[in-house]
């Protein structure tokens, strides 16, 4: 899984049926120390993540479909958690 920060939302009225009614979040990927890695992705929200929150992203199709309970959803990235804290080894 990956760590990221919610940078915005993607509004799309015309989309694949599996995406209808779901929030699409634009997430900047971070390294565990919180530094942006420079890459970003659009993930489907499943936990109600909000602006600027640190989130946990599952970036794998089968898992994503399980989370969304949609066996044929064309989705790979899903926000599966809101990160409260990251502790690195001292």
């Amino acid at each position: 899984m990956k760590i990221g920060r919610v940078a915005g939302t993607v509004v799309a009225t015309i989309c694949s049926s599996a995406l209808e009614g779901r929030r699409l979040l634009f997430v900047d990927l971070l390294d565990p120390t919180g530094k942006p890695t420079g890459s970003d992705l659009i993930a489907v929200d499943s936990v109600g993540a909000g602006a600027g929150e640190l989130v946990l992203i599952l970036d794998e199709g089968n898992g994503a479909r399980q989370v969304l309970q949609a066996p044929d959803a064309p989705v790979r990235a899903v926000v599966v958690g809101i990160v409260d804290e990251i502790e690195m080894n001292g």
Binding site: G8, T9, V10, V11, I14, G61, P74
Partner: protein, 91 residues
């Protein structure tokens, strides 16, 4: 999923049967500030309504074939949404 902009269309009359009927569009991946990033790809239109210069969301690998009506064709990129806006939260 990645943001992209439709920059062209591909017509291929001689094509693998599994791809027949799929609308093939050229999509330039974009970063969050809508600046081009990386190389353009040819994506199947999973919503069958993407038009030139549309901002779209593209999915890759196996998920791309799920974006097309069954039976899933052999595609590696597909458009899954036409993006109306990217609302950025400025901190």
């Amino acid at each position: 999923m990645e943001l992209g902009r439709v920059t062209g269309t591909v017509v291929a009359t001689t094509i693998y049967e599994g791809l027949e009927g799929a609308r093939l569009l050229i999509v330039q991946p974009l970063d969050r500030h809508l600046k081009p990033r990386g190389n353009p790809v040819v994506a199947a239109d999973g919503v069958a309504m993407a038009a030139p210069d549309d901002l779209v969301a593209v999915v890759a690998s196996r998920e791309a074939s799920l974006a097309l009506p069954p039976p899933p064709g052999p595609v590696d990129h597909a458009i899954v949404a036409i993006v109306d806006a990217v609302e950025e939260w400025s901190r």
